[in-house]
Amino acid sequence: MSDYTDMQLVEGFRSQDDHVIRYIYQKIGPLVRNLVIKGGGSDAEAEDIFQEGLVAAYINIKNGKYARQQAKFSSYLIQICKFRWFDLVKSSHRKKGGVMLDINMKDKDPDIQFALEEEQKHEVLHSLIDTLNEQCKEIILRYYWEHQSLSEISQALGMAPASVKNGKYRCMQQLKKNALDKKHLLR
């Protein structure tokens, strides 16, 4: 497996490149796993923490906050996961006899705090996307995430291009309505 420079790693992750994601899972994943296991967590929790940490890091890469700090990507991601784990332990009030993380909360970078809070809001949005019907999900994911054209989508789904376009509008209005209902969780 080839090694990546820090910049390649960040840029590859920004574009959700599969090779880069696999590399991150293999190189950084085990370090986060150790951290969670040592802290009394389970494998499943380690997977969750790592995934949430990745999404939070992605958010800060996209919004430019990542670029204004100095840490290497791996350290940054581990740091995010540590704080996420710490928050989880704190919120669940559990005493598992694990080693308490050597975290000084004063070190919690406001940008990391921001990313973690945003990640939680994104989870709310994701649950709202999940409530859309299958066709809506297909259309909006293909259009906004996979960047397929209206005609590609119409072919794939066997719909007229105009129906895809109108459907996209209707689905987004539905999603917006759902989001406005949950406004308190998204602000």
């Binding site: 599969d18 990745l54 992605y58 996209k62």
Partner: protein
């Protein structure tokens, strides 16, 4: 929101507008709080969809227990322009300025500030790297940190409408009292630009400040008759 407006906002957020369309849209946004709100909301939804897709992808990977390699099931690339929003504080600022403007109407200098109150800036959406630099500078602008905002505006070369950039550079200079620099920049904004009306308005203000009465009157004639610009009060200022 009707479909046409939705698609317009969408094309703004997905960076599909021409330079001219973009400037026009940004100018419209600058004076329409409800449009800003819609842009911010759609931006949030689009970034949520982007991370939804990312998570779907991440679900196909697992942290290896040993040296086994994980098996990616999908190969997709996403270059989605995630636009994020940091602040809906614009309204607060506008109200703040309005309040400030309306409670400080004593002498002529204060009156000037009331009539030509500072442009409140654009909503600070933190988005693609292209946009990010501009909106990062805009945050400083809105926090009245004009020197830093200017410094940042000056490093931006793309990602934002040229007129938008020129106009806000001029606004920052104006707030710093650099009247000459502000005029030079405002002069670069052509008649076709959606920022033209506002540019002439502030040039009028500068002419008044510099005591160039006849210039001010000529400029004022060119200012569009919209509620945005209080031409009557400006005329009173000139005549004083």
């Amino acid at each position: 929101m009707n479909q046409e407006l939705f698609e317009k906002i969408e094309s703004y957020l997905l960076n599909r507008m021409s330079e001219t369309e973009r400037s026009e849209f940004e100018a419209r946004m600058a004076s329409d709080a409800s449009l800003q709100e819609e842009v911010i909301t759609l931006q949030q939804l689009l970034s949520g969809i982007d991370t939804y897709g990312l998570k779907k992808k991440l679900n196909t990977y697992h942290i290896p227990r040993d040296s086994n390699t994980t098996n990616p099931l999908v190969r997709r690339r996403s270059h989605f322009n995630l636009l994020r929003v940091a602040a809906g504080i614009l309204i607060l600022f506008s109200v703040g300025w309005w309040y400030f403007a309306n409670t400080h109407s004593g002498n002529t200098a204060d009156r000037w500030g009331t009539v030509f109150y500072p442009d409140p800036g654009l909503p600070t959406s933190m988005g693609t790297t292209d946009h990010y630099n501009f909106y990062d500078a805009m945050v400083d602008y809105k926090n009245d940190n004009y020197p830093l905002a200017l410094q940042k505006f000056n490093t931006i070369t793309n990602g934002i409408g040229q007129d938008t950039l020129t106009y806000y550079k001029a606004m920052a200079h104006l707030q710093l009292g650099h009247l000459k620099e502000a005029v030079q920049l405002l002069n670069k904004i052509s008649k076709e630009s959606p920022f033209y009306g506002a540019a002439v308005w502030y040039k009028t203000g500068i002419a008044i400040k510099e005591g160039r009465k006849s210039d001010a009157l000529k400029l004022l004639d060119v200012v569009p008759d919209t509620r945005e610009f209080n031409k009557r009060q400006a005329r009173e200022l000139i005549e004083e």
